[in-house]
Symmetry: C2
Subunit: 143 residues, 2 copies
DNA sequence: CGATCATATGTAATAACATTACACATCGGT
DNA sequence: ACCGATGTGTAATGTTATTACATATGATCG
């Protein structure tokens, strides 16, 4: 599905692991998943992740030290990406918002700051998980 | 300067270390700075940091695993805070922007996401450091 | 072809960051 | 004096990421 052309074996394996996962994975979780494929050391994972991030196929979630496959082959070159991360089920929503980008750009220009990488991550509960939690809290009339 | 009332000895020491620092500090750097004050284990630092964050006196910079003293006694209760972090000199600019907050709030409401903590961090070079770098790159005519 | 260079890999060791577990201390309210 | 909430001291362990060095692979050029 993704432009996996030109990926090396290790890179392809790591990307597959992320693509097949429900939510974000830590580097060491990926390593464990790939033991059977010959992976032995963390560096094999980190190196592949570095390359995949360079190619825009994978994102790192800074606030939880984990990685996700990019949900689209869209060009991230000049886009600012935000993530909504559910702490319950692990679901991650990747989105971009031009007004958000505009707004941060305004601040950056005003302060002559030269941005290299911008992180926007909202941690919380997704709609489904928030609903489930509300049910537990409410005086359940299901007796 | 900060409302240090009610802080325990350990908490006060950690806050002082951060207040006196030029830039963000890692937990282990703080530990080293406080060896002479009797600190021996990481947990002493992490516990103090937890409390200080609860009190809004300290912020954690997720993207660089470091901590900074809050620059103001302002109420962070319902504010979204963003950070511009210079990778060269370590300077950190803490700012909030209601439009930014509004914009993320719009997304969150539209997706019925229940936010717990939001991280906004811009890493790059501050004005001074960007200038200094430009000078090195340009064909210096200062010969 | 053989020399060379850039990129990727394998492996071990180590560094950097953070938490768990348990025992003990301190303080305020009853 | 008792209790519960909060804080502390210490050791051990868990988790995340990098450094260092050797080897391999593949494209390019004379
Ligand atoms: Zn993406
Ligand atoms: Zn969820
Ligand atoms: Zn602050
Ligand atoms: Zn700077």
């Amino acid at each position: 599905m993704n432009a996996q052309v030109d990926l090396t074996r290790n890179q392809a394996l790591v990307l597959q692991a992320l693509d097949g996962a429900e939510g974000p994975l830590s580097a060491y979780t990926i390593l464990d998943k790939l033991r059977d494929d010959g992976f032995r050391a963390p560096l094999q994972v980190y190196r592949a992740l570095d390359k995949l991030q360079e190619l825009g196929l994978v994102h790192r979630l800074e606030s939880i030290n984990a990685f996700v496959a990019c949900c689209q082959p869209h060009r991230h070159d000049h886009e600012m990406i935000a993530f909504a991360i559910c702490g319950k089920c692990g679901n991650v929503d990747e989105f971009s918002d031009s007004m958000l980008e505009e707004r941060l750009g305004t601040w950056v220009r005003a302060h002559r700051f030269k941005p290299a990488k911008t992180t926007i991550e909202i941690r919380g509960a997704c709609a489904d998980c928030a609903d489930a939690e509300r049910e537990l809290e409410s005086p359940a009339r299901s007796n």
